[in-house]
């Protein structure tokens, strides 16, 4: 069995085992941590053994028959676009497992559910078949629905249903697009490598546009971009901490990953034709997410809106990569590299922020930013971690966010100068984080900050782990970029053909 298959099925098997009712709570938490740690080690192994594959090929590939009648197979593999996301996913889940070791509400089922989610998320990133991709895409929605409705708070049931309806609706649009690709391909296939090598709707302007529209709609809901983002803030504010961390850290990437893995290489000329729409949506998402985030007084909602903003940068970059300008090949490649880096960076930083928000809620049962003051005095460790994560998120140099955003703008502005407007988004995000830090942590100790105990090791260790990786990327970006860049170069070529 291939190492990627082990990566996908190990948590699934562990989840199935955890469904046995006789397993104790402590045992379940132990399994959760051990399995996620093993997953991280496995992903590290894949990374260590990784050799950049030739253009149009995948590393650690495995393909076996599944539904040959409809041209679908169990096909997995990684390249520079997916491998960083695989590693990031295992990291986020390990952080969540450690954070959850004191979970009191049905820990056995929660561990099973999150291991299931981990399998699904990893499965999606290693899929090389559209149906396999779709299976994981849909199952992630089901898993997250149960996470929110089962372990959320306040209006959890309502938010969970809204989340489910919205993203499921998007997934069905995506399915229509996939079927369109399948029908147009000759011979009919769902294989992503085949579809990338021979894009089926080249030169069919209207049909290609319609299929792309269906795919884009599905991915835009999942990402989420303006105007399909409205499910995100309620889902986040009512989800449990580790649910939010997984949702924002990993699952939002499924949308943007779909852009670089499916929409761009399989529908290149339609993508080029619609690149301006993508760019416009990206710019609006960046500005809208930042501005609305600025107006929030609820910490989790604020972080949720910055996710809309950060994902907007990714959309912007992949849109710009579809605009062919003279001598801009290098720039388009830089934009794609930035987009993938941003996915990794946002995963690490947002997961850290949401875990910290969860620690806050455990103590005070509220996310109200105005209820605090001078928290740095009573909880210095908490304040330090939060500050680092916030600075990372607003794009401070020496953290991963800077590397990502710098490349996105360097690539995008060189190709499409008008995207410079979106730089405003960085400014607003910086302002909103600084204001939040100021409101919560500085000044005399007041309100809910009184008696706020500082974070315990099981709370700060996972966050520190995520932030350490972010700093590592920020200081030594080449480790990551060397893996991403060849993949980005291939993608830029594919879009340009």
């Amino acid at each position: 069995m291939n190492v990627l298959s082990v990566l996908v099925f190990l948590p699934l098997v562990a989840a199935a085992v955890l469904l046995v009712p006789r397993i104790s709570a402590a045992g379940a938490r132990g399994v959760f941590v051990v399995v996620t740690a093993a997953e991280l080690a496995l992903a590290g192994l894949v990374w260590a053994r990784y050799q950049t594959p030739a253009a149009g090929e995948l590393a650690a590939e495995e393909q076996t028959r599944w539904i040959p009648g409809v041209g679908s197979s169990y096909h997995v593999g990684v390249d520079g676009l997916s491998l960083p996301l695989v590693l990031m996913t295992t990291l986020v889940f390990l952080a969540c497992a450690v954070h959850a070791v004191r979970e009191q509400r049905r820990p056995r089922l929660q561990a099973a559910l999150f291991l299931f989610l981990e399998a699904v998320c990893l499965g999606l990133f290693v899929s090389a078949d559209l149906i396999l991709f779709f299976v994981f895409f849909d199952l992630s929605i089901v898993g997250m629905y149960f996470s929110i409705s089962g372990w959320g708070h306040e209006n959890a049931a309502r938010s969970a249903v809204k989340f489910f309806l919205y993203t499921f609706l998007g997934s069905l649009a995506l399915l229509v697009g996939f079927v369109g690709l399948y029908v147009a391909s000759d011979p009919h296939t769902f294989d992503m490598v085949e579809l990338t090598a021979h894009p089926p709707l080249q030169g069919h302007g209207v049909a290609g546009g319609l299929v792309l529209a269906a795919v884009l709609l599905g991915l835009a809901v999942k990402t989420p971009t303006f105007p399909f983002h409205t499910w995100l803030p309620p889902a986040h504010s009512d989800a449990p901490a580790i649910g939010s961390a997984v949702l924002a850290g990993v699952m939002l990437k499924m949308g943007t990953y779909g852009f670089v893995r499916i929409a761009m290489p399989m529908l290149p000329d339609a993508w080029r034709a619609w690149a301006w729409v993508v760019i416009a949506v990206g710019i609006v998402s960046v500005l809208w997410g930042a501005l609305v985030g600025f107006a929030q007084t609820d910490l989790k909602r604020m972080i949720a809106y910055t996710s809309v903003n950060h994902m907007g940068y990714v959309v912007l970059a992949v849109g710009a990569a579809g605009v062919l300008a003279d001598g801009a090949d290098q720039a388009r490649q830089v934009a794609v590299t930035g987009a993938v880096t941003q996915m990794v960076s946002h995963g690490l930083l947002t997961a850290a922020l949401f875990l910290l928000a969860g620690s806050m809620f455990e103590r005070t049962e509220t996310y109200d930013l105005d209820g605090y003051g001078g928290l740095a005095g009573t909880a210095p460790r908490y304040a330090t971690l939060f500050t680092v994560a916030a600075f990372g998120s607003l794009g401070l140099p020496a953290l991963s966010g800077f590397i990502a955003e710098f490349q996105i703008f360097a690539g995008s502005i060189a190709t499409v100068p008008v995207t410079a407007v979106a730089v405003l988004g960085i400014l607003i995000t910086a302002a909103l984080f600084l204001r939040a830090l100021q409101r919560v942590f500085t000044g005399p100790t007041a309100g809910l900050s009184v008696g706020f105990t500082d974070v315990t090791p099981r709370e700060w260790v996972p966050v520190a782990l995520l932030l350490a990786v972010s700093v590592f990327i920020g200081v030594l970006p080449r480790t990551l970029l060397d893996v991403i860049e060849p993949g980005a170069a291939v993608l830029a070529d594919l879009v340009g053909r």
Binding site: G69, V70, S149, V161, F168, L172, A173, L175
Partner: protein, 464 residues
């Protein structure tokens, strides 16, 4: 003749089992009627074994070409007998020690035999007989376990059935008059020269009758009333078995009518009407059985979409058969969960279900998400391949309609799921459980739908 009889052994075994159960039941003391259930199950298992043994790729026309044994017949036999076993399991708890216990079993078997005859018949006269054989047990089943709503439901089913039966016979007579033959093999040749308006009228009339059996628009009025008013096992039966027979019969009928594309479009329009009307009506339902009733109307729409392209796409036939099997399992899983909690009728009654019956809740989740078409369940593969086949045959609008309707269906399936996941307002008192049969059936069916989705490849190869 002897060889012909062997060829219809599965149908004969079901029919014979029904007879034995019926006659044997009247000689069995009331307290021992359960043994007739065992007889019925044994006959069904024998039918299943005979179907598997007789499975062959070669098309074979028997009884002077009035009945055809091919992949469709073979698949239908397996689907129907497996479904019957699940329904018998559901019924075993529900009708145990009921005065009409053995009669219920025999009606289920007769209905199953009727559905099989419907699916295999390639002659207008046999089609009419099959229609009657599969309809009359249905009327009985709806009313046999009396509840306050049952008489109304039975009467409505009967009146609808009588009306659509007459339409079917009228159409059959018309087609017979035009062609001068009743056998499908000669219909195809004779009808090409007949006046096309008359052929269309005859075809549409027969189609109407079959749509009553399938529970699709416009013959769907009885479905929600019957599912609500009948016992759960009868409801599970009437939303599964007759549909399978009727849908396969529809594919056989349109195959011999001239004008492939025209009939594909007609079926496509009827499919969209069924899925849309079924879904929109289900949105407002508060009684879960009524909700399931409307849900099956919409599911018939998806099945009809696959049936529409069996003639004009290579993928159509296997897609339809796969979908039929997946639909039967998933639908029965949902009904089995409803049967396992007979006291929970309205959506509010389902509060606290997840905390008191976790295993069954998991089955319910699989069943309802399966009906939506969530991977990796069988219905997902059915819907996916149906979308691929319709789009590939030039009916992309049908594929889009399926996706849009799946979105709508999400709203009401999720309402039920949400109700079941809600914590109960007060502690549950010991509610009746409907025996051990229904929960077992629910778990088996839910597991089977996932397993079938995961092993779609081999299954597909058998059906293609």
């Amino acid at each position: 003749m002897g060889a012909d009889l062997v060829a219809v052994l599965p149908e004969a075994l079901l029919f014979l089992g029904g007879m034995v159960t019926l006659v044997g039941g009247s000689f069995t003391p009331r307290a021992r009627q359960r043994r007739m259930g065992i007889v019925a199950a044994a006959a069904t298992v024998a039918g299943l074994v005979a179907s598997l043994v007789a499975w062959e790729g070669d098309t074979r026309a028997v009884f002077s070409g009035t009945f055809t044994v091919d992949t469709s017949t073979g698949a239908t036999r397996v689907i129907v007998t497996v479904s019957l076993l699940l329904i018998l399991l559901i019924a075993s708890g529900e009708v145990r020690d009921h005065p009409r216990e053995s009669e219920t079993y025999s009606l289920l078997l007769f209905g199953g035999a009727g559905a099989l005859l419907l699916a295999g018949s390639t002659d207008l006269a046999v089609l009419v007989v099959a229609f009657l054989l599969s309809s009359i047990p249905l009327y009985g089943l709806v009313g046999i376990i009396a509840r306050p709503e049952s008489p109304e439901a039975a009467l409505k089913t009967y009146l609808c059935g009588a009306l659509f039966g007459i339409l079917l016979m009228l159409g059959a007579v018309l087609l017979y008059g035009l062609a001068g033959r009743a056998g499908y093999s000669s219909l195809a040749a004779e009808l090409t020269d007949a006046p096309s308006a008359a052929v269309a009228a005859g075809g549409v009339l027969v189609l109407m009758g079959l749509l009553f059996k399938a529970g699709g628009v416009p013959g769907h009025f009885w479905v929600p009333d019957a599912t609500q008013g009948a016992s759960v096992s009868a409801a599970a039966f009437l939303t599964t078995i007759p549909k399978i027979g009727a849908i396969v019969a529809i594919t056989r009928l349109v195959a011999v009518l001239p004008g492939d594309l025209r009939w594909a479009t007609v079926l496509g329009v009827l499919a969209v009407a069924s899925m849309t009307i079924g879904n929109l009506a289900a949105l407002a339902q508060d009684d879960v059985r009524r909700l399931l009733g409307w849900s099956t109307v919409s599911q018939v729409g998806y099945l009809l979409a696959a049936a529409a392209v069996t003639r004009i796409s290579d993928q159509g036939q296997p897609a339809l058969l796969f979908f039929l099997a997946g639909y039967a399992l998933t639908n029965l899983a949902a009904f089995a969960v409803a049967a396992a909690a007979p006291d929970r009728r309205s959506l509010e009654d389902w509060a606290g279900f997840a905390s008191t019956r976790p295993g069954l809740s998991a089955a319910l989740v699989v069943a309802l998400l399966g009906l939506v078409g969530t991977p990796p369940t069988a219905v997902f593969i059915g819907k996916l391949t149906t979308m691929g086949a319709t789009w590939g045959a030039g009916l992309a609008w049908l594929a889009v309609a399926i996706a849009l309707n799946s979105v709508v269906s999400l709203f009401y399936y999720l309402r039920w799921l949400r109700a079941a996941l809600r914590p109960a307002a007060q502690l549950e008192e010991g509610s009746s459980t409907g025996g051990r049969g229904a929960p077992t059936a629910a778990l088996v069916a839910a597991f089977a739908t996932v397993a079938m989705g995961l092993t779609a490849g081999p299954v597909w190869l058998i059906l293609a």
